[in-house]
């Protein structure tokens, strides 16, 4: 029973990371109907930036606060330079650019920072596990950070004019333009926010799985599975889906399929959701007019 509880809590901790990346995916999906394959690699790159700062002697939280705006700029620039011109191009073109970005981030990171696994510091201390050994300090801290990020994103979209404008631009670009919302700027903002969320997720997951250029491939897959499970049209659903996938991954890995097939579990979830309930648990069924 203790083992089960422990797996459950670890599942929630990693689920929080998947939930953040899933939220980043959903934000870009809602605005552009694209799934950003490079989301994970962008997060990985941001994490390397943070590590470089920390190794240069910058304190952890300062490095954290510098990395997030850099990532924001990176996301916004990619949207302005690469994605905007292709807004009306066929899907293949966007997939090509996403894959191109993925390959470039991956190999440039390998080039600059080498492919060796690097430990990443945790700001929450190494000390003894808390609450009778069920949860490590890092798990507790990263889950808290994740929840703060998710809550503030929610509050931003719910309570600010800018958030409202972004939702409008994603929901109905034509009408938004007519009422004066600068739709392209909103999209760039969305990409920037998504990249920042990804960066935070990367910094939270790196102490657990160690930093290397291929770190995020699995995370991206789980996040996508989570986004689909919760419904890719629904940000809250995607977050819940991310947590569920984290729990399934840990319990499944411990009791059902073993660790060798963890990635296959993600593939399985994706295929099952898409064939049985394509809209996800909380998503709206898309009806298109012909």
């Amino acid at each position: 029973m203790d083992g089960l509880l422990h797996q459950l809590i670890s599942g929630i901790a990693s689920g929080g990371i998947y939930a953040s990346v899933a939220l980043a995916l959903v934000m870009i999906y809602q605005a552009t109907h694209h799934v950003n394959f490079a989301q994970g690699e962008m997060a990985m790159f941001s994490t390397y930036i943070a590590l470089t700062l920390i190794q240069a002697g910058v304190p952890y939280w300062a490095a954290f606060c510098i990395t997030v705006p850099i990532s924001f700029a990176m996301g916004a620039v990619i949207q302005r330079v690469l994605m905007e011109p292709l807004a009306k191009a066929p899907i293949l073109a966007s997939v090509g650019v996403f894959i191109g970005l993925l390959l470039m981030f991956n190999s440039v990171a390998g080039w600059i920072f080498t492919y060796t696994l690097k430990p990443f510091p945790t700001p929450f201390g190494e000390g003894k596990p808390l609450f009778g050994g069920f949860i490590s300090r890092h798990e507790l801290g990263s889950t808290a950070i994740t929840l703060v990020v998710l809550l503030s994103i929610w509050a931003f979209f719910r309570f600010t004019r800018l958030g409202l404008a972004m939702r409008a631009a994603a929901f109905n670009p034509v009408s938004s333009r007519l009422v004066g919302v600068p739709v392209n700027k909103m999209l760039a903002l969305g990409w920037g926010l998504a990249a920042s969320i990804g960066a935070i997720a990367g910094m939270m997951v790196a102490p657990v799985i160690f930093l290397d250029p291929n770190m995020m491939a699995g995370v991206l897959l789980y996040a996508f599975a989570g986004a689909l499970l919760g419904g890719i049209t629904n940000p809250l659903g995607a977050v819940i889906g991310g947590f569920i996938v984290g729990i399934i991954e840990n319990l499944g890995g411990a009791y059902v399929v073993g660790t060798e097939l963890k990635l296959t579990t993600a593939l399985f979830i994706i295929v099952v959701v898409l064939t049985v309930k394509p809209a996800g648990l909380f998503g709206k069924t898309v009806v298109s007019r012909v």
Binding site: L92, G100, P278
Partner: protein
């Protein structure tokens, strides 16, 4: 090019490809050219699915892996001769392709791309899985023997293997080009460009899409078999995401909706990374990435469209 020349040109090209390398190429070059043929068939398979039919697949490496493993297991465990494994691997891959094509029907564009990407990520794990270890050899993989030239032909094994792959590849290219020029090809393109209109014209979209998936898997699977025979070795980690993305790059560079594009794409993926690797180990990825983005902006139809443009001007 005038019509007769363009009709004869593929055959001349095939004849030149069969003769010239045997006369001039070293054994290592011959190996590289054999791999070009193998990749050309794989890229052709992806062209049919993604280029002609518009179903974006980032996971065709999985079919390549299934083809390679089918051949390796049949040769290693059952003593089947190398040439006799091809029909088996074609059947197995077409079957698997058809089955994967069924859920793929539900997945519009982006979803399909991501799901097939997930398939590419999961493939090495599945190949290593301990339940299949008795067959697949687990992490160690399977080593197979290089075939000798039959009937006492005066060719060394490398030369024979090249000719064998070229012959199989030639048949597949002929089949594909006949297919895309006929009714099936028109239906495939109609589904890609205007699914609603295509359905209104009486095209059974579900049938065409799943069968295109099966055909693509068949081509890629045979390519995997040829690749396994050429490299004489299969191991799980050779069949991960990089392989699938390599095919994707080959398709984009050569030109998706083009038969000749598959050959250009294959030449690209065989030779350009070698050159780039001399710059830096990490360079091929960056070069691939840059080239993908560059092609999407400047030449979305790939090298084949450049060729078509030049041709059109001359005619």
């Amino acid at each position: 090019m005038n019509p007769t020349l363009s009709r004869v040109f593929p055959w001349l090209f095939f004849a030149a490809a069969a003769v010239l390398p045997l006369l001039f190429a070293s054994d290592y070059r011959l190996f590289q050219l054999t791999m070009v043929v193998v990749y050309a068939v794989a890229v052709l398979g992806l062209n049919l699915l993604t280029g002609y039919n518009g179903q974006v697949s980032l996971g065709n490496g999985a079919f390549y892996a299934i083809g390679a493993y089918t051949t390796a297991i049949l040769m290693d465990k059952f003593g089947v001769p190398y040439w006799a494994t091809l029909p088996f691997s074609a059947l197995v891959c077409a079957g698997v392709g058809f089955l994967i094509g069924l859920p793929a029907l539900r997945l519009g564009g982006m979803y399909l791309a991501l799901t097939t990407f997930a398939l590419a990520v999961a493939t090495p794990q599945l190949l290593k899985y301990k339940l299949f270890e008795g067959w697949t050899g687990g992490v160690q993989g399977i080593v197979i023997d290089k075939p000798d030239a039959p009937f006492g032909l005066p060719l060394n094994p490398d030369q024979w293997l090249y000719l064998f792959c070229l012959l199989v590849g030639g048949v597949l290219f002929l089949a594909a080009s006949n297919m895309v020029r006929g009714r099936i090809g028109r239906a495939m393109r109609a589904i890609r460009d205007q699914p609603t209109a295509a359905e209104a014209m009486g095209i059974d979209i579900a049938m065409f899409k799943t069968r295109t998936f099966a055909t693509s898997a068949l081509f890629t699977g045979i390519s995997g078999s040829l690749g396994a025979i050429t490299i004489q070795f299969v191991a799980p980690d050779a069949f991960g995401v990089p392989l699938s993305l390599t095919f994707f790059v080959g398709m984009v560079v050569g030109g998706g909706a083009s038969i000749a594009g598959a050959i250009m794409g294959a030449l690209f993926i065989q030779f350009v990374p070698n050159i780039a690797e001399e710059v830096s180990k990490a360079a091929p990825g960056a070069v691939y990435g840059l080239i993908l983005i560059g092609f999407m902006f400047l030449l979305p139809g790939g090298l084949a469209s450049l060729l078509r443009l030049l041709n059109g001007k001359r005619a």
